[in-house]
């Protein structure tokens, strides 16, 4: 059940992350907080479209906003990203296991092939 609650908590974050433009907005903010107008200028889509993306990111709590004069400033919100990372961590362990199985498989099959390779090399030496 603990795992399930983690899965549900990250639902909004993952659906927000599913969109490539929204991921690009996050990449842009990785270098620092920016006003909405500046974020919009960085993309070839309309300003209302960017506003909508920012709203989705805000609802997923992946970014947070404050006002400075008439500008709305956005920056990354580390908390929910950490939850996403936490969810992925379990899968990291999984593919690392897979990788080490792959390593064992490749090394084992290479070990079988080695004698024949050794012969080839010997032949080469003789030719020289």
């Amino acid at each position: 059940m603990r795992n399930r609650s983690l899965t549900y908590a990250t639902g909004k974050a993952f659906s927000a992350l599913a969109d490539p433009t929204r991921r690009a907005v996050l990449d842009l903010l990785l270098r620092g907080g920016l006003p909405a107008g500046q974020i919009a200028q960085a993309f070839p889509v309309s300003r209302p479209a960017i506003s909508k993306h920012l709203r989705v990111l805000r609802r997923a709590r992946l970014v947070r906003m404050h006002r400075l004069g008439r500008q709305r400033w956005f920056e990354l919100n580390p908390g929910p990203l950490k939850t996403v990372d936490l969810w992925l961590t379990r899968y990291r362990a999984f593919w690392q296991n897979e990788l080490s199985s792959l390593k064992h498989f490749v090394e084992a099959s290479q070990a079988k092939e080695l004698p024949s390779r050794g012969k080839k090399n010997e032949n080469k030496k003789h030719r020289r």
Binding site: L30, R31, G32, G33, L34, P35, H66, L68
Partner: protein
């Protein structure tokens, strides 16, 4: 509003803004202790409460402030190069990043209707983990701009409330 450009590479974070004020005026805002505390901050984010400096090459500077959670912080440094009103280079050691010493370089270029203000924060090649600790330069430049173009001070600014 003038565009804020933010670029970076492995060693350096570069942020720039156009401000409608002459370089002399911008330079003063960066080194005059009475002016620095007027623009550097926003309630709810962080603000500098004290700034002191010995404005000469080899001279020290220090700022004390309080962050949005009420925690105190301090940044200290030494002026390495001074060429008013074009250039200011100093070291930078902040309490929130431990002993790590980086460099902050301000370049002020006169332009048709004011100054192109560029800040280069370097030294991250030896402290890559710190890059994320310095994502606030664009906002800091906007605060500087608000003082110089509108006379807006930290006191007059609406406190930031995050949503």
């Amino acid at each position: 509003m003038a565009a804020i450009q933010q670029t970076s590479n492995a060693d350096e974070i570069v942020s720039e803004i156009r401000i409608a004020a002459p370089p002399e005026r911008v330079f003063q805002a960066l080194v005059d202790p009475a002016q620095v505390v007027q623009w550097w901050g926003q309630a709810g984010i962080y603000r500098c409460t004290k700034f002191e400096n010995n404005l000469r090459v080899g001279g020290a500077w220090r700022t004390i402030g309080v962050d949005g959670n009420g925690h105190h912080f301090e940044v200290t440094g030494e002026y390495l190069e001074l060429d008013p009103p074009r250039l200011l280079l100093s070291t930078w050691v902040a309490t929130w990043t431990g002993d790590a010493k980086t460099k902050v370089r301000w370049e002020l270029e006169p332009s048709a209707n004011g100054t192109l203000v560029r800040i280069r924060h370097s030294g991250f090649a030896s402290h890559p983990e710190l890059t994320q600790a310095y994502r606030g330069w664009p906002r800091m430049l906007a605060w500087l701009q608000a003082l110089l173009e509108k006379g807006e001070t930290v006191e007059q600014r609406t406190p930031a409330s995050w949503s």
